[in-house]
């Protein structure tokens, strides 16, 4: 089986079929449809200190949502590329991670044993596992 990502100097070569790229093109919708995923994407730094959290919010504004949106834009813009620079590869890595979190939320996954209990023929479970494979390969290429 060909590797989907391989190192090429400072860049990452991508070997994905059109069908695979089409799946990745849909990840933005998967993430955006999840909303805050019952709080999973509603990150807080100070969960037990309202004043400190207000200060953190005032400092950050919507920079986290902006950064996550920019990652999705970057991935969409480079989906047909045969080579990714490191910045784009890292954006792909984070979008794939967000999509896995959104899918896990849709599947009601709440504990570490899901890989033994979920039906691997379920399409969303299969996508979750496929995205894990892609992300793991990217991690190895970028390490």
């Amino acid at each position: 089986m060909k590797e989907p990502f391989t190192r090429r100097g400072d860049a990452v070569a991508v070997r994905l079929g059109d069908d695979e790229r089409q799946v990745l093109r849909g990840l933005t919708d998967v993430i955006e449809a999840a909303g805050d995923a019952d709080g999973r994407f509603a990150y807080t730094a100070h969960p037990n200190d309202t004043d400190a959290e207000d200060g953190y919010r005032a400092l950050l504004g919507d920079s986290l949502d902006t950064a996550r949106g920019e990652d999705r834009t970057m991935m969409t813009a480079t989906l047909d590329s045969k080579v990714l620079d490191e910045e784009a590869a890292m954006a792909w890595m984070r979008v794939i991670g967000d999509a896995r979190i959104a899918l896990a939320h849709r599947l009601g996954i709440e504990d570490d044993s899901w890989e033994e209990t979920q039906d691997p023929t379920d399409p969303e479970t299969a996508l979750l596992m496929y995205l894990g494979y892609l992300q793991d390969t990217l991690v190895r290429v970028l390490t």
């Binding site: 999973r40 990150y43 807080t44 730094a45 100070h46 969960p47 200190d49 004043d51 400190a52 200060g55 953190y56 400092l59 950050l60 920079s63 986290l64 950064a67 996550r68 890595m93 984070r94 991670g97 967000d98 896995r100 979190i101 896990a104 996954i109 709440e110 504990d111 570490d112 899901w114 979750l128 894990g132 992300q135 793991d136 991690v139 190895r140 970028l142 390490t143």
Partner: protein, 97 residues
């Protein structure tokens, strides 16, 4: 980590700056069932420059104990670290040391 027993002098003492004092904060990463172990190790190395051994030790602590302290420092640094972890999809919060 040592605890300071001598009172610390601040240039602009006020109630408003109390929680922004030099008392270190620690950044906690919590276990979640989705993020890959390899990805968590990669993020900890990338963001904090940990060795592969240290990043792996912290990842396993998160996995086995449910949480681990991955960095610490003044509030501003800790909040910046927390923000970067959130951007990478890790569930992170802050605590005073």
């Amino acid at each position: 980590m040592s605890n300071t027993t001598t009172p610390q002098r601040t240039d602009h003492p006020s109630a408003d700056t109390d929680y922004e004092s030099d008392r270190p904060w620690q950044v906690i990463v919590w276990n979640d069932p989705v993020n890959l172990m390899s990805y968590v190790v990669w993020v900890l190395r990338k963001l904090f420059g940990h060795s592969v051994e240290e990043a792996t030790r912290l990842m396993l602590q998160v996995h086995n104990d449910g949480r681990a302290v991955v960095s610490n420092g003044p509030l501003e640094k800790a909040e910046h670290d927390c923000h970067r972890l959130h951007h990478h999809g890790l569930w992170a919060t802050l605590e005073r040391t």
